[in-house]
């Protein structure tokens, strides 16, 4: 697979179809990889592909530093590629100028990351090039099990759980920076007139921050789980994201990252949406 990837990348650069390939390179230890930005065909040897290719490289697509006049290619796992769908829906990338190289993937990390246990895009979708064999998708039936487990506990418990979790947030914003969909040029927490979200990393500020973040990702989060992976305090951020993904799926019949033409659920409505909640 890696040879095919390097080969494809080389072709893309040689033919001038793209002038930048964003991929994975060797990391500072064997259990890590680091993003590489390749502009010269001969550098394609630097590309690697293994079960430590965690990062969702599509986050780089929205960075001004990496905007080029020409086309860019990005190496994606199936889960990462879902972000491309949302990014083009939200007009952050021009799909015509991005070549998405999808890598068939049986999961990353050891032990496997939990997201990989319910992966239905082990052979990536919505890609321009797919490298690797067809891999049968896994069932998503149990994908919300962890959410339901927490749901099963009583409210006071849940509150205590989250209070403790959020109290460990140090406001390093790695969750935001790693998220391919947190592309705002100025995050609302950086908005100080008014300061809706307290900047301090105290529980009150942390709760506001994480509530706001979950809401901003509602109906958008594609479940790559980068926010949770990079969190230095190991806060289970995906629990909240998944909860809202579940609500959006059950209430509005929408799953993020699959269909380019479907309208964004939080920017559209049906007159017959549920009215249960309302007195």
């Amino acid at each position: 697979m890696i040879d095919e990837l390097r080969q494809k990348a080389r072709e893309l650069l040689e033919t001038g179809e793209v002038d930048l390939v964003i991929g994975y390179g060797e990391g500072s230890d064997p259990t890590r990889t680091m993003p590489v930005f390749i502009r010269r065909p001969e550098d394609c040897e630097k590309l690697v592909w293994n079960k430590y290719c965690y990062n969702n490289l599509t986050s780089y697509l929205t960075w001004p530093e990496l905007k080029t006049r020409g086309k860019r290619a990005v190496v994606c796992k199936g889960c990462d590629a879902k972000a491309v769908v949302v990014l083009s829906k939200e007009r952050q990338i021009d799909r015509k100028n991005v070549i998405v190289i999808g890598m068939a993937c049986e999961g990353v990390g050891e032990p496997l990351l939990s997201k990989c246990e319910f992966c239905d895009v082990r052979t990536p979708k919505n890609c321009d090039i797919v490298i690797g064999p067809e891999i049968t998708p896994l069932s998503k039936e149990k994908q919300f099990e962890d959410v339901e487990q927490l749901e099963a506990r009583d409210p006071a418990d849940r509150w205590e759980f989250w209070r403790e979790q959020f109290s460990r947030c140090i406001k390093c914003y790695a969750c935001r920076q790693a998220c391919p969909l947190c592309y705002c040029t100025q995050c609302i927490v950086e908005r100080n007139q008014p300061q809706w979200v307290p900047t301090s990393a105290h529980p009150r500020g942390n709760l506001a921050w994480n509530v706001m973040r979950a809401m901003h990702l509602a109906g958008r989060c594609i479940g790559c789980g980068e926010c949770e992976r990079v969190c230095p305090s190991n806060i289970p951020l995906m629990l909240a994201n998944k909860k809202l993904a579940q609500v959006v799926k059950e209430q509005f019949g929408y799953e993020s990252g699959y269909d380019i033409d479907e309208p964004l659920p939080m920017a559209s409505f049906m007159p017959d949406d549920s009215d249960e909640l309302f007195k």
């Binding site: 990391g27 500072s28 230890d29 890590r32 990889t33 680091m34 993003p35 590489v36 930005f37 990062n55 986050s59 780089y60 960075w63 001004p64 530093e65 990496l66 979790q165 460990r168 140090i170 406001k171 390093c172 914003y173 790695a174 935001r176 920076q177 790693a178 100025q186 950086e190 100080n192 300061q195 307290p198 900047t199 301090s200 990393a201 105290h202 980068e226 992976r229 990079v230 230095p232 305090s233 190991n234 806060i235």
Partner: protein
Amino acid sequence: MAEFKLNEGRLQELITKLRDAGYRVVAPVEEEGAFVFKEVTEPGQARLDVLRTARSIKEWFFPRVEPTLRYEFDGSAVRCESGLPESPQKTVIIGCRPCDAASLPMLDTLFDWDYRDEYWFRRREATTVISVACDVPDSYCFCTSVGGSPEGTAGADLLMRRTADGGYLLEPLTEKGRAIIEAGEGVLELASGTEEVLVGEVPQRFALDKVKPWLDQNFEHDYWKEISYKCLSCGICAFVCPTCHCFDIQDEADLERGVRIKSWDSCCFPIFTRHGSGHNPRPTRDTRYRQRVMHKFRYYVDKFGVTACVGCGRCSSSCPIDMNICSVVAGVAELAESSK
């Protein structure tokens, strides 16, 4: 100076003794799969074998959130109350590594430079630091490249070295250190001098003396762009770093009362240098990451004569995209070589 012996399995007794002596004992403790310095409530929690905690010990002197001032409005008058800790709790941090300990004197100079920061020093005075020499360093360690050592004593009041028989050798370095020995009486015994201590090797990864001259000459260099494109601009490196000390001050107030809060900040955040006008002198990742390196290896040296990096390797090991400061600086050293 006389050394003392803590035999295998007696660490918990020592901790109990220290607590009996009125110390708040802080040590590496597991928290959600990560190790952080926390107050030890059960002696068994202390994990002196942990090489690298998620965050350094700095938060015990320079908390990530610190109310410096509380105020209340009374008509047109304002009533203020300082957040300065009157007499911080007597504390002992046990189990930090020599690199963390070395960061303390380094920050002392900063916090006592143009004005003396009592928030820092009151906690410094109330706190005793017991470091543990590294018997098994890992590939992220590079203390030796920045003037440190796996058994360095800088900043520590007492140094513990692992012994082949599973115990520890304790070497008091200051008055505070000796006080620990006294508190530990009954658990500690005089060392025989025949103990075999285990201290690991940390290879030197770059020649520090090459680095600064190159930095002095190369504020503008493609190298910065090359290495920093992948930076996510998050604050992890700064927040886990023992020597990063930048902070932001914000008021959180309503109509009746408010609090002025000091919070950790990071030069990698895009808004770190954004002006009120919207202009940002460090608009891109390379300019921000360059600042991080320059501050540690050039500006700090110019100002205080020391490098503001202790080689703990935390920023590298916890960086989401595997940005490795050691290899970045090693790269600088190479460039310096080749440019000769």
